[in-house]
């Protein structure tokens, strides 16, 4: 077969991948924790509304909180047990943000609710299927956690030509997708078929980085028909959605646009497997695979973890060397965030716990930018990171936007190569949030001004109306008119008196 043409995206890096540490053992089932915690704040959308109360007994797979908007999906209990609390707790967020959480004490029985598998999903209407996927609580398991049903709803505006399945796990150290592909290729392939049916997509491509030969072999062996599995070069961030689409199709997703605008929809392999379980087995999303690795971990591995499991529980299971923990990172070393609380629960988007990395190299002092341009050579968005840094530092946020700040995907390539060790991504995040805050402020000010102007106009109008009313009243009782009336009355009376007098005179005469 002729090799498919691939395109390359600008920039990117070859990183030491560190994945081997966690790929030595098969996926292991994590132990059942004593408590499960379910934050009501999900990656997208508003807070979920709890549908259980303290003291309720819940079964595995039961909905514990439902969505109240179109950007979120319900959360299901990941094991059976008793609701023992609904309270504010810190959640998995870089800022240490708190949110209401449902706490469930597990009973160790793992009793499932009744499940209703749909083996013949092809009979289902795509819209019904989408809704089912939503009710099963499935969101993108690649990282951003965007609800899957939304991405399956292409709507009337665009025809989905290509479904792209993302098997390019390009962050170093993370291997959960790799192991999933190696061990559960069958589930992924079935899941893809369901996604395809829901999208009615013509083509289906799957990109796997060439540093995962076992995964590639497993999927090629499992593939049935209509799915093209393509090896792509290992180059971070090949797994970025826009980069993967470019690599496989040569098309660039426009700056403010979505993949659907160019007829493409992209889903992660983990999402495909979750969709398979949801439809074929009737299981809502209650667990995911998480890589637990890093230099402080004695036995790095991939664990199938119940959602809501506290992090310390996983660390205990993988034997942490307390002395070697210098970092606890959620996600990969390039884009993950540090955390200082191991009581936090894992959520649907948690793909990796990185506990200690070889050289945290943060002792090097930050030097001024020497404009060496190394950042611009590796930026996959083809930006000029040093200019963005310059303008951000000078608080010239308009200029930073002129240099396309919002096209930055925060992949971290620039900071990785910066010889001055400037935390560039940190600056861009700051600039972005600052601009958003300013926009919000401006909007608020605009609304306040509108309200003020409206009130001012209303008052003015009322005043005018009142004046007009008074005018009318005055007009109706105006002195001239009444005088005329009086004069007329007097005249009439005078006339009457005169005629009377004349009449009397005539009588006398």
């Amino acid at each position: 077969m002729k090799a498919r043409q691939l395109w390359s995206f600008f920039g990117g890096l070859t990183l030491p991948d560190g994945k081997n540490q966690s790929t030595q053992v098969p996926i292991t089932q994590a132990d059942l924790p004593e408590y499960l915690i379910f934050p009501l704040q999900q990656p997208t959308g508003n807070l979920l509304i709890p549908v259980v109360k303290i003291g309720d007994i819940v079964l595995k797979g039961e909905v514990v909180a439902k969505a109240q908007d179109n950007l979120s999906v319900p959360v299901h209990a990941s094991s059976s047990g008793k609701v023992i609390g609904i309270e504010n707790l810190p959640i998995l967020h870089p800022s240490g943000l708190q949110a209401p959480c449902i706490i469930i004490e597990t009973d160790g029985k793992e009793t499932w609710i009744d499940r209703y598998p749909f083996k013949d999903y092809q009979q289902l209407d795509p819209s019904y299927l989408r809704n089912l996927i939503r009710e099963m609580g499935i969101i993108g398991l690649g990282g951003a956690g965007f609800p899957t049903f939304i991405k399956l709803n292409s709507g009337a505006k665009a025809q989905v030509q290509t479904l792209i399945i993302n098997g390019a796990e390009s962050e170093p150290y993370i291997s959960c997708d790799d192991l999933l592909m190696r061990e559960r290729a069958h589930e992924i392939i079935q899941g893809i078929a369901i996604l395809r049916h829901a999208l009615q997509a013509c083509h289906c491509l799957m990109g796997i980085e060439d540093n995962k030969p076992e995964a590639y072999a497993a999927l090629t062996a499992a593939v049935t028909t209509g799915i093209e599995i393509i090896k792509i070069p290992t180059r971070y961030p090949a797994g970025g959605e826009k980069q993967l689409i470019k690599t496989l199709t040569g098309k660039e997703v426009t700056s403010r646009g979505l993949p659907i605008d160019i007829g493409v929809v992209c889903h992660n392999v983990g999402t495909a497997a979750a969709v398979y379980r949801a439809i074929h087995l009737g299981q809502p999303l209650t667990s995911r695979i998480i890589t637990v690795t890093g230099s402080a971990i004695d036995r790095p591995k991939n664990l199938e973890v119940l959602l809501g499991t506290p992090i310390y529980h996983l660390l205990n299971q993988c034997r942490v060397d307390q002395r070697r923990i210098n970092h606890l990172i959620i996600g990969g070393p390039m884009m993950g965030f540090t955390l200082n609380d191991i009581n936090l629960p894992v959520v649907k988007t948690t793909n990796c716990l990185l506990v200690g990395i070889p050289e945290p190299n943060k002792s090097t002092p930050v030097m001024p930018c020497i404009r060496c341009g190394a950042c611009a050579e590796v930026c996959p968005a083809h930006l000029l990171p040093q200019q963005l840094y310059w303008y951000t530092k000078a608080k010239e946020l308009d200029k930073a936007q002129d240099y396309h700040l919002f096209d930055c995907i925060e992949c971290g390539c620039c900071a990785y190569v910066c010889p001055s060790h400037i935390p560039l991504v940190h600056y861009y995040r700051y600039a972005k949030s600052e601009i958003q805050a300013q926009k919000q402020e401006q909007e608020q000010a605009h609304r306040a001004r509108q309200r003020y102007e409206f009130r001012h106009r209303r008052l003015e109008q009322e005043q005018q109306e009142q004046a007009a009313r008074q005018q009318m009243q005055k007009a109706s009782l105006s002195p001239s008119a009444s005088e005329d009336k009086k004069r007329a009355l007097i005249q009439a009376a005078v006339e009457r008196a005169r005629s009377k007098r004349i009449a009397q005179k005539e009588k006398l005469n």
């Binding site: 995206f9 600008f10 990183l15 030491p16 170093p172 826009k242 660039e252 997703v253 426009t254 700056s255 646009g257 923990i325 210098n326 970092h327 606890l328 990172i329 996600g331 070393p333 390039m334 884009m335 993950g336 540090t338 955390l339 200082n340 191991i342 990185l354 990395i357 050289e359 945290p360 190299n361 090097t364 002092p365 030097m367 001024p368 020497i370 404009r371 060496c372 341009g373 611009a376 050579e377 996959p380 968005a381 083809h382 930006l383 000029l384 040093q386 200019q387 396309h404 096209d407 971290g412 900071a415 990785y416 190569v417 910066c418 010889p419 001055s420 060790h421 935390p423 991504v425 995040r429």
Partner: protein, 343 residues
């Protein structure tokens, strides 16, 4: 368990500014050795003077500006500035020449603009130009290459004595002009290139010794390219334009315009192309911008050498193009992902 907060990414490829500067120094070593071979110990004295002055001035200025001394002295940028300036100075020039040039470069061209990373002009070239226009006699009195010296090259002791006291009986016997300078004055006198090149100053390619030193600068530059300390854009553009212009004029009037080989192997060509124009702080930032920036330096160098008032044009070209950097940077922004005009 308190873990520190760090922002992503959490790994780094491990380079730092001091390493980059150190690699630049390493790349200069072959040319330095060649320099000593052809022109004696004078260059070593120059380097010692400039580096010591640069480091002392840097420390004083950092202290005055309230900046951390250890971090910025360790970055190596002062040493690089000093070394580069030393290569531009005539050997055995009086001691105050390197000292004044370096101090001016560090104080006025670097620290008054905000120190490392903030200077718009190449400090070494600012220092050089100050000396060139203030002390033209000292700055244009070069040693002839070893073979042409009437006496054998001075030993270190005599060189030091000469530099610090400027007392040497036979001083005039070994002062002279560089091949570029000689060519220029002889052309003014109406002599043809062929005649000029028959002077013993010249070897097969360019000036005797000069061609070799340029060759070693070239090799050092290639090593910097290999190490990815510099990118290919600026040196290629500088040399490409210089090659193109000199070839064209030499082809038109061979006896008035020297050949490309002469231009590429004379004066500061290779030092300028690989070590001075590539100073990242003062150069254009984007790859495309660097091509324009380099082309500007190459073109101006040829113009100044051929029709200008000075024998070599590298320093002026670099400074002139430094001025153009903001404009170049503005107009050469790369096409951002997802911003294609046709879509």
């Amino acid at each position: 368990m308190p873990f520190p907060f760090f922002s992503a990414p959490h790994i780094h490829q491990g380079t730092n500014v001091s390493q980059l500067m150190l690699q630049v120094i390493y790349a200069l070593i072959p040319a330095l050795l060649a320099y000593i071979w052809y022109f004696g110990y004078g260059i070593l004295i120059n380097i010692t003077l400039t580096v010591i002055t640069a480091v002392i001035t840097e420390a004083l200025m950092l202290a005055a500006r309230g900046q951390p001394l250890n971090i910025f002295l360790a970055d190596g940028s002062a040493v690089v500035t000093g070394t580069l300036l030393a290569f531009c100075l005539p050997a055995l020039t009086p001691w105050w020449i390197p000292v004044i040039g370096t101090a001016f470069a560090m104080i006025f061209a670097k620290h008054l603009y905000g120190g490392l990373g903030y200077n718009p002009f190449n400090p070494a070239m600012v220092g050089y130009v100050l000396l060139l226009i203030s002390f033209p006699k000292e700055m244009t009195t070069w040693l002839p290459v070893k073979d042409l010296m009437i006496n054998p090259p001075l030993d270190l002791k005599e060189s030091l004595k000469l530099v610090f006291t400027h007392i040497a009986p036979e001083v005039d016997s070994f002062s002279g002009a560089t091949p570029l300078d000689y060519t220029k004055t002889q052309l003014r006198l109406g002599r043809a290139i062929d005649e000029i090149r028959s002077h013993p100053l010249f070897g097969g390619l360019g000036g005797k010794g000069w061609a070799w030193i340029n060759g070693w600068f070239f090799l050092g530059g290639m090593w910097l390219l290999y190490k990815r300390v510099i990118s290919w854009h600026i040196p290629s553009a500088v040399l490409g334009i210089l090659l193109a212009m000199s070839t064209m004029f030499h082809f038109l009037v061979p006896n008035y315009y020297p050949s490309a080989l002469f231009h590429l192997t004379s004066g500061g060509t290779m030092l300028g192309a690989f070590f001075i124009a590539t100073d990242p702080v003062t150069a254009a930032a984007s790859p495309r911008g660097r091509l324009f920036y380099g082309a500007g330096i190459g073109g101006l160098t040829y113009i100044i050498r051929t029709w200008g008032g000075y024998p070599d044009g590298i320093a002026f070209s670099v400074l002139l193009m430094n001025m153009a950097v903001p404009v170049i940077d503005y107009y050469t922004q790369p096409p951002v992902f997802g911003h294609k005009k046709d879509s």
